[in-house]
């Protein structure tokens, strides 16, 4: 079974005959979201522009179904495919509604006059992106985020089978980032739109995509499900990160740890230590963490930010050996900070650690107390 709505094999894309990216194999399926990720300047936009016929391919062919995209009539293509691009639009005396209405142009007559049905679809699209309240405002006077939503409404009311979005989340605040993602999910699952987009927001890419295509250097590097891509430290390799860490569980980033021998031991666990880790990192104070379970919510952050982490296996009580390891580290540290005041059966060892710290006078209450 071949469900590919849009496909290309051996595609090369670039400008004026010079390939930026080559050997591209792409397959967008009905109702699925395909996301392109990769470093800046990798050619994601160039690829997207080629897929929507804004650019001629340097080599290879793009197909919609079985049809060569370059042979489609402009209007036919417009009925099949809608786009949301990164470039700024500069308009003069044009309302949002008028901008959205241009999405209906492939369907209306020679003069572009909207019918009742078209108007309804325009209203619906405006409603979907939450732009109804400023529908009759001048699009030039909106914020970047509002304009982005209006242009998305334009793409939606075009009723495409394929929706191509270049960095759609840029300019959007967190609320609309989330709304955009659920909207795209809805378009994919309810209307069966196949969506191809590029994203810089890895945490979103991980959560919303059905498939991910990673682009690095001059060719696609990897293609797979988010679970396949976000594993084995691949993301750090893809982006060539040198500072900080990328957390594959959450798709979030942590900055680099402060370098040097630990000055502070933090007794963490259960999420309460996170604030302390970040405070110490900002102040540039190297620290150690102990004893932390490997399945603790703090674990990824501690791994990234602390110069040393004393860990215990998941679901095991903190062992005596680990406590003594932590005590050894404590000897070297000038201060001890503790995030928890209650301990359960599994981390009773940490209570002993706290007692020891109190006794030797190293325990402080706040990061601010560090002289």
């Amino acid at each position: 079974m071949n469900d590919a709505v849009l496909s290309a094999e051996g595609l090369s894309v670039g400008y004026s005959g010079k390939a930026v990216l080559s050997g591209i194999e792409i397959k967008a399926e009905k109702g699925k979201i395909l996301t392109l990720i990769g470093p800046n300047g990798a050619g994601k936009s160039t690829l997207l522009k080629t897929l929507c016929r804004q650019l001629e391919p340097v080599g290879g062919t793009v197909f919609i179904g079985k049809e060569d995209i370059s042979r489609l009539k402009s209007r036919e293509l417009a009925k099949n495919m809608a786009v949301l691009l990164t470039q700024k639009v500069k308009t003069q005396l044009m309302t949002c509604r008028e901008a959205v209405e241009t999405g209906r142009f492939p369907y209306v007559g020679a003069l572009g006059v909207m019918g009742d049905e078209d108007r309804k679809k325009v209203d619906e699209a405006l409603e979907m992106v939450g732009a109804s309240e400023f529908a009759d405002k001048d699009i030039d006077k909106l914020s970047d985020g509002q304009r982005q939503r209006v242009l998305l409404a334009r793409a939606i009311c075009q009723e495409p089978d394929i929706l191509i979005l270049d960095e759609p989340a840029t300019f959007l605040d967190i609320r609309y980032k989330l709304e955009l993602m659920s909207l795209l999910k809805k378009l994919a699952s309810e209307r069966g739109v196949s969506i191809i987009m590029s994203l810089h927001e890895l945490e979103l890419a991980q959560k919303v995509s059905d498939m991910i295509l990673c682009i690095k250097g001059d060719s696609p590097d990897r293609y797979g499900t988010p679970e396949e891509i976000f594993s084995g430290g691949y993301i750090e390799k893809l982006y060539g990160t040198k500072k900080g860490r990328f957390c594959e569980y959450y798709g979030s980033v942590e900055l680099s740890a402060a370098e040097g021998e630990p000055e502070v031991l933090v007794i963490g666990g259960g999420g309460k230590g996170l604030g302390i880790y970040r405070q110490l990192q900002r102040k540039g104070i190297p620290f150690a963490v102990g004893v932390l379970h490997e399945n603790d919510i703090e674990f990824p952050a501690a791994k990234s930010l602390a110069s040393e982490v004393i860990t215990e296996s998941a679901f095991e009580p903190v062992s005596v050996e680990k406590v003594s390891d932590a005590m050894a580290v404590m000897e070297k540290c000038r201060y001890v900070l503790c995030a928890n005041h209650k301990f359960g059966t599994m981390n009773k060892g940490n209570a002993d650690l706290l007692e020891k710290a109190e006794n030797c006078g190293k325990l402080i209450k706040d990061v601010e107390d560090i002289g």
Partner: protein, 340 residues
């Protein structure tokens, strides 16, 4: 929605009233003033006052019709160019397209005068069209290199100067009694247009404007930029070619019959957009035609009445009203860019 329609309707009525007033004034005022009553009786009954009738039909009607049609065509030509360059400060005069047409017409006129051939309207328009297109292609070549509209405009003005200089040179070189006419024409004027010429102008301008009207849908989509226009199903290369051909034809036709007329192509669309509060082409395009007609009729009235019996060139008057609008628009744009 309703508010928009109401505003458009009121604006159209406003323009229509102005147009009627302008036409009546142009017919009545002049070296011999004709009252409205006389005007009506003369047009109804040809024999009641043959002199008035002759003044009207041979001089004032053709001139009024020409100012109306050519003014409207010029404004539409400006609007098309603005759509092409996605910039409100574009027009056939400022980009040197009118001057290119002028040069070509001057060349063919001098040549035909020397050979003693009487030029037909079609030949004049044809020559003007070739000249306009030649200028247009130079402007396009420059616009491929420079992205800033202000520089393109400076280049357009320079092209205009070069063409005008060559035209002057040719006019000065050729020695003929008709050269006085040629000189008047090269400054821009609606005077001396014969009824036949007015009809010929109408036969070119009106179909061209109708064609332009049918471009209003792609023009509408083009307002969001080329990429989104493509995505709306516009065949962009075809559309751009149509814009170039139609705007060149319109300004060429104006130049062939009335010489270069300045700033109408920018000032009128700008005024109309402000009046209507929108730039939607399907609304604006016919209004630009009306607006251009009104603007040129009033300007032409000024050329021949204010300093009568001396007659000014039409560009002198249109520049007085039009150039400040362009300056205002350019400074406004710079201000907006600074704020961004």
């Amino acid at each position: 929605m309703n508010k928009k329609i109401k505003r458009a309707a009121v604006s159209y009525i406003f323009l229509a009233v102005l147009l009627i007033a302008a036409v009546v004034l142009n017919l009545c005022l002049g070296s011999t003033d004709i009252s409205v009553n006389e005007l009506i009786t003369a047009l109804k009954d040809h024999d009641s006052s043959p002199v008035t009738y002759r003044i009207l039909t041979q001089i004032r009607l053709p001139r009024t019709a020409a100012a109306l049609i050519l003014g409207g065509g010029l404004a539409v030509s400006g609007l098309l160019l603005q759509s092409f360059f996605s910039n409100p400060v574009a027009g056939p005069y400022i980009l040197g397209i009118s001057s290119g047409a002028k040069l070509a017409v001057a060349l063919i006129m001098v040549y035909s005068l020397a050979k003693g051939i009487l030029l037909s309207s079609a030949a004049m328009v044809g020559a003007a069209f070739v000249g306009a297109l030649a200028s247009m292609f130079i402007v396009l070549a420059i616009s491929a290199k420079v992205k800033r509209m202000s520089i393109l405009i400076v280049c357009g003005v320079m092209i205009g100067y070069i063409c005008s200089a060559i035209t002057e040179f040719i006019v000065n070189l050729s020695d003929d009694s008709n050269i006085v006419n040629l000189h008047n024409w090269s400054m821009g004027s609606f005077s001396g247009i014969s009824p036949d010429e007015a009809v010929a102008a109408a036969f070119i301008i009106i179909p061209a404007v109708v064609c332009a009207f049918f471009l209003s849908k792609p023009m509408d989509a083009y307002r969001l930029g080329e990429s989104y226009a493509v995505s709306s199903g516009v065949n962009v290369s075809l559309f751009r070619a149509a814009l170039i051909l139609l705007s060149s034809l319109l300004s060429a036709c104006v130049t062939a019959f009335a010489g270069p007329v300045s700033f109408v192509g920018i000032a009128v669309p700008h005024g109309v957009k402000s009046l209507f509060g929108t730039s939607k082409p399907i609304v604006i395009l016919p209004a630009c035609f009306l607006g251009g007609a009104v603007f040129c009729l009033f300007c032409d009235l000024i050329t021949r009445t204010v300093f009568a019996p001396t007659e000014l060139s039409i560009s002198t008057v249109t520049a007085v009203f039009g150039a400040p609008v362009v300056i205002w628009m350019l400074t406004g744009r710079e201000r907006r860019m600074d704020n961004e």
